[in-house]
Amino acid sequence: MFADYSMSELGAIFAMQGFAGLILFSVFVLMALGLAIIFGQMGVINMAHGEFMILGAYVTYLVSNFFAAFLPGIFGIYFFIAMGLAFVVSGGLGLFIEWAMIRHLYKRPLDTLLATWGLSLILQQLYRSIFGAREVGVTIPDWMMGSLPLTDLIEVPINGIFVMVLAVGISVAVYVMMFRSGWGKQVRAINQNRVMAGAVGINTEWTDRLTFGIGCGVAGVAGSAFTMIGSTGPTAGQLYIVDTFLVVVFGGAASLLGTIASAFSISQAQSIMEFFLSGSMAKVLTLLTVVGILMLRPQGLFALKLRK
């Protein structure tokens, strides 16, 4: 299939294809980090994860409209403010949901699955009632659209670079919080032994709430970033949820490093296969591979060593 092309063309395509894989990787990392925190550390299967993401996207939409109307002079930087707000709003809703719903269900993990699924339906209908059933168009600042021409053939999309930088930034932030902060220590302690953690004076309730809130907040930031590459509508969150769970489960539920490793392998596999096969077939093969590996290794790529 490459006979018709010159070496320089092939080189350029491989470079761009590699970059496409990296962008996909960043997207997966952004999607999955919030869920990995909640699912991995608390064991809550948050089916409404996609809706928390879309909440972030809607916040971005509102902020962009606000800037266009009142502060057109600094429209170019609204996106950073929008992302901050998205974190606060999604995280705030997360705190509230944890207080109102999730905390009553910690002992019943399967019920959280149903409850959060119901929550996702409620949120979807809420978005539909507030913003209308149609997708909204989020105007992206000009400097973020378009591409950087590196050579004649190689062009790198700027929003792709932006998503990559963001993914790295948030991963580092989550890592620092998890492994270098007091909160992270408490979360890990609770994850290992909830009763004992409580006995040594850790406020397990508040830590749980904060964890859930931070996970949701990260989802909101991801949703905000995705307005650059995807759609913003009441049900757009559903587009991400399957891939998100795939990445988290494949990586090993309790491991953040596993999530990143799994995002990397799935994205590269999918992106390479998409290039050589048709889109649907690439997806089928990716899923088959993941299913195959999970059958051999049900705990995922990386798992905590537990005494059983």
Binding site: M16, A20, E135, G137, N159, M228, K283
Partner: protein, 426 residues
């Protein structure tokens, strides 16, 4: 209600239908010519215009509206509901149909195909509606089709679709595939000299059937080449790989039939990848992006692409100016009107014309009167119902502008004949 209808609400519907059909046979096509503008109900006694127990009283007639107003398809179907309600309001303001005001019962298909079938049955069996405006996706239409055929309902279906269907109980007010595809390909081949095409679509029946027809036409009739054909799952949001492939193949035309949320992702990523559609290198030609979809995509992200439709909001004929004005008055200034919305608007009007021609609400008589119905007042211009229950209509090509509207750059000189079972394209 007539004695006829009140006597047998519980009777088995299918056998009842047969008997009614026999009763109805004699009086078809009575008052069809030289109809006065305002018909008085008194001239049309209920017992005569409704011999099959439909929901018709001395001054009202009830129809059904069956679309998704919740779930994923609500995005698309909202416009159709709005257009249908506008048409009903306007017909009522003119005095209704056979002197009877139209009332409607709206049901929500909830983007779920079995729900569509269940609601269709409810509308036909419990509510006894005289006709139904509804459905959007082919899947929902296929789900309600057996219901409409069993209970002899009458459905006006607004969406452009893949063809390969013709039911005595459905009027298709949108284009079947060949009406939308062939003229557009001819246009891009003649005026732009396109020689190579890259076909791209979401992975379900409509894009696949449409691309099949497109491929046959490109290869057999235009003598051009298809350099790639690809499908992505519904909801796919990452198109960087296929964009790289397109760069490698350097086609003259990207023929895109991507739908839903994927649409937004595709055009945003195409633009971000540095493919400037306004330079027409390559040309992007789509049959799945109406003004409605552009609202989600953002006009600046699709500026320069061409769409092949039968209707654009920017059409400047008088019918359309009036239609756009009334639509915005009723639903708000920020509304946009896409191809399907206009086709949905035709439904109640076509039904009105057929009922008046038949002089009856009975489905069998309306069906018999329907072929040949002409509508000079359609926003898209003049349309006519073909014997195969599809519409003759023009095909147009629009150039997307940054403000989210299309400039009409081409329209066929004649109405294009609907051909749901195209020979040589199967």
């Amino acid at each position: 209600m007539t004695d006829e209808s009140s006597k047998k609400p519980n009777q088995s519907q299918s056998t009842g239908m047969n008997r009614r059909a026999v009763l109805a046979g004699g009086t078809a096509l009575t008052a069809s010519l030289f109809m006065p503008k305002n018909l008085m109900a008194a001239d049309y006694p209920t017992a005569e215009v409704n011999t099959t127990g439909l929901a018709v009283t001395d001054d009202t007639v009830t129809i059904g509206i069956l679309h998704s107003i919740t779930g994923t398809m609500a995005i698309s179907e909202t416009g159709s509901v709005q257009a249908e309600k506008l048409a009903i309001d306007q017909i009522n303001a003119q005095g209704g149909i056979l002197g009877r005001k139209i009332e409607y019962i709206q049901e929500d298909g909830a983007s779920d195909w079995p729900t569509f079938a269940e609601k269709a049955k409810k509308l036909l069996v419990n509510d006894k509606v005289a006709s139904v405006m509804g459905c959007w996706t082919s899947a929902s239409r296929k789900a309600v089709l057996p219901v409409f055929e069993q209970y002899n309902g009458f459905l006006y279906y607004p969406t452009f679709y893949e063809g390969l269907e013709q039911s005595p109980n459905v009027i298709y007010t949108g284009q079947e595939a060949t009406q939308q595809i062939i003229a557009g390909l001819d246009w891009v081949s003649e005026t732009k000299g396109a020689k190579t095409f890259y076909l791209l679509g979401s992975d379900y029946i409509w894009p696949r059937t449409s691309n099949k027809i497109a491929r046959k036409h490109i290869e057999n009739f235009l003598g051009a080449k298809v350099v790639g054909e690809e499908y992505y799952p519904l909801g796919h949001t990452q198109f960087n790989s296929v964009i790289n492939k397109i760069r490698l193949k350097k086609p003259d035309v990207i023929y895109a039939i991507v739908v839903g949320g994927s649409n937004v992702a595709f055009y945003k990523q195409l633009k971000a990848a540095g493919i400037d559609m306004t330079k027409e290198d390559p040309i992007v030609l789509t049959i799945s992006v109406t003004e409605d979809e552009i609202r989600g995509i953002g006009g600046e992200n699709i500026e320069g692409a061409y769409a092949c439709m039968k209707y654009f909001q920017s059409l400047t004929n008088e019918n359309n100016m009036e239609f756009v004005k009334s639509f915005k008055e009723m639903w708000g200034d920020d509304m946009v009107i896409g191809d399907v919305t206009q086709a949905a608007y035709l439904g109640p009007w076509l039904w009105k014309a057929a009922v008046e021609k038949a002089g009856s609400f009975d489905v069998d008589k309306v069906r018999a009167a329907t072929p040949g119905i002409e509508l000079g007042t359609a926003p898209e211009g003049y349309v006519k119902v073909h014997d195969n229950h599809h519409l003759w209509s023009k095909t147009r090509v629009g150039l997307a502008k940054a403000d989210g509207q299309y400039d009409v750059v081409y329209e066929t000189a004649e109405l294009v004949e609907p051909d749901p079972f195209p020979e040589g394209y199967q």
